[in-house]
Amino acid sequence: MILIFNDNHQSTLSFLSYLDKLNLKYLSLTIDNIIDDVIIKDEIGNNLKKCIWLFKKQKVDFSTITGLYNRIAFIGMDKFNDFIEEDRSYVQSEWWAYLIFRINDSNNPCNKITNEMISGLLYQFPFLYKEAQNIGFTVPKYHISTCYSSISQIFENNGRFIARNNLYNSNDFRLSQSLDKDSMALIEHVEGRPIFIHIIGEQLWGTVDIGINKKIFQGGDTIKYQSIALIKKLGLSIAELIFKLTDEGNLVLYNVSAFPNWLRSAQDNLDQIYNALALRLLNDNNTCR
C-alpha cells in the first residue's frame, strides 16, 4: 500500500485522483489526521522494527507500506491550540521528532526529511544558491544586510531587484518597485520566461511557461546532469527546480522545492510524472531511479 502524508495542496489532490483512476490502494493522512486520530505503537530494538498505526479502525502496518509520499514540511504551532501555552512548543517538537523518525525509517520515503530541511537551510536562498553554484548552475546575484540604509543604497543605485524581508525561498520573482523598512535581501531580477523542471529519481520533465500556455521544455544533457546532481546533493529524490530562461538562452536557477507543484508542468508531461511517481511509490523496479 502507498501511504501519503497529504498537505491538501491541489497538486497532491490531483495525484490522488490519478491513483484513484488506476484503482491503486493508498491511504492519505493529513497532519490533522495524524495528530488527532492516529493511535501509535512503534517498537525498535536490535533486530526489531515494528510499527502499527490505527487510524479510525484502519490498521496501518508500516512493513506493508511500499512507499511514502510525504508532503509535510513542518507542523504549525496552531495544531496544538488545545494544549496549555507553555506545553505547545514541547508537544510540537515531540511530534516533529517522531515524524522525522517515522518518515525516514519507512520503506521508500519521497522525500526523506533531511538535515537541510530540519535546519531550515533548504528553504533559504543563500544556501541553495551556494550549493547550486558549486554544481555549476548560474544563480542570481544577491545582497544581504540587516542594515536598512545599506540595502536601500544598493536598491537606489541599481534598481532591478526582488526585495525580500527574510532569507526564505519564494516563487514570487516580480521586480520590486520599492522597499519596505524590513527589507533585508535583494535578489537580482533577471528578465526571462519561467522554466519548471520536475524530477523524480533520475527522470526529469521540463516545462516552459509562455503566458496562458505551457509547453514542454527540452533542456540539454548538462542541465539534466546538473539538476540530478543538485537534488542528490540535497538528499532529495523528488524536486521542482525553477529557472528563468533569458533571451540569450541562459538558464538562471531561482528556486528548488522538495515539495513540487506538479501542476506547473505541461499537460503532456503530467501523466508521465504521475505514472513515474506512482511506480516509485509502489517500489516497482521498472522505475528509473
Binding site: D42, Y90, W96, T146, Y148, S150
Partner: protein
C-alpha cells in the same frame, strides 16, 4: 584566530573562552544578541557594524548559536540576523564545529541512533506510544524509562511499577519515547575530530545530570573497538565535535544520543585536567 559564536550566557563558551585566553590564543566572540541591524555578507567577508571579518582569517569556529523562538518584530529581526550568521558559519567559513546543517541530527533522537551503522554498540529497546495506554509495557518484565524524542531536554524518569494502577491507564496525546531501563555505568564520550575523551559518571539516580549528591566523574578508558566506533559515529553524522551518551550494562555498550553541541565543561570541570579543551583548541587551530 578562533571564532566563538553564540549567547553570552552560554557556559561552554565562557569556559572555553577563558581557557583560550589563558593559553594566549587570539579569540573573537560574537554575541548573537548583539546582531540587530548590523550584519552584512560580502564575497569574502561579513561585517558587523564597522568591523569586517574575512572568512579565511578564522582557523576555526565553535558554533553554539541558539535559535530564538519568539514572534515579536524585534526578535524576528534578530532571528533573520542569526539565520545570516548560521549561513555564514555553515557555508562560507571552513572548520566550523559544528555547522548548522549537521547540528540538527538530535532533533529526532530515535532517527539519529537508529540510522547509525553500528557493529559493537547496541541500541536500547525502545517503544513510542501516542494515544494508547501504556498497559502493554507492564506486560513484560522489562522496566522502562521515558523521555523526550526531540532535542528538548527532559528529565529521564522511570515508569514506576509501584504506581502501576495510576500509570497503566495513562496515555499521552503526543508521542512519548519509552526505553528499556538499563542498570549500568553512564559514560559520556567526547569526540573532537579523531580524538576521544570518555568520562564515566557513577550515580544512584536514573538521570545523573540531576544528581546533586554523590555522583562521581572519572576519566574512562574505552575498549579500542568501542572508541573506534564512537569516532565512526561522529563521522557518520559529520560532527567534528560531539558528546555521545552511552551506558555500559553487562558488558554491552548502549547508545542513547549524540549531542552535536555538547556541554563538555560540565564534565571537564569534574576532571583533574583539560583534555577536552586542549583537543578542542587543537581542532580549531588546525
Amino acid at each position: 584566530m578562533i571564532l566563538l559564536v553564540g549567547s553570552s550566557s552560554d557556559r561552554v563558551l565562557k569556559y572555553f573562552g577563558h581557557f583560550l585566553i589563558k593559553k594566549n590564543k587570539e579569540v573573537v566572540f560574537l554575541n548573537q544578541a548583539n546582531l540587530l541591524n548590523k550584519i552584512q555578507i560580502y564575497d569574502n567577508h561579513f561585517s558587523i557594524g564597522s568591523q569586517k571579518y574575512f572568512f579565511n582569517e578564522f582557523t576555526g569556529v565553535l558554533n553554539r548559536i541558539v535559535a530564538l523562538n519568539s514572534q515579536n518584530q524585534y526578535s524576528q529581526r534578530i532571528h533573520n540576523a542569526l539565520k545570516i550568521l548560521s549561513y555564514v558559519t555553515s557555508m562560507e567559513i571552513a572548520n566550523v564545529l559544528n555547522p548548522l546543517r549537521y547540528s540538527v541530527t538530535n532533533d529526532s533522537k530515535l532517527y539519529q541512533i537508529t540510522n547509525l551503522k553500528l557493529e559493537h554498540i547496541a541500541i536500547p529497546t525502545s517503544t513510542v506510544l501516542a494515544k494508547t495506554n501504556i498497559f502493554s509495557l507492564f506486560q513484560t518484565k522489562v522496566r522502562y524509562i521515558f523521555k523526550s524524542l526531540s532535542s528538548i531536554r527532559s528529565i529521564v524518569k522511570e515508569l514506576d511499577p509501584c504506581n502501576y494502577n495510576q500509570q497503566a491507564n495513562h496515555s499521552s496525546d503526543e508521542p512519548v519515547l519509552f526505553q528499556e531501563l538499563l542498570h549500568g555505568l553512564n559514560i559520556r564520550v567526547h569526540i573532537i575530530k579523531n580524538e576521544c575523551v570518555a568520562v564515566s559518571i557513577q550515580s544512584s539516580k536514573i538521570d545523573y545530570r540531576y544528581d546533586y549528591g554523590d555522583r562521581k566523574f572519572q576519566e574512562y578508558k574505552l575498549p579500542l573497538v568501542i572508541k573506534a566506533e564512537c569516532i565512526s559515529i561522529a563521522k557518520q553524522l559529520k560532527l567534528n565535535f560531539c558528546g555521545i551518551d552511552l551506558i555500559k550494562a553487562q558488558d554491552t555498550y548502549y547508545i542513547f544520543e549524540v549531542n552535536p553541541s555538547p556541554g563538555y565543561s560540565f564534565y571537564e570541570q569534574n576532571l583533574p585536567d583539560n583534555k577536552i579543551s586542549y583537543a578542542l583548541m587543537k581542532a580549531l587551530i588546525r
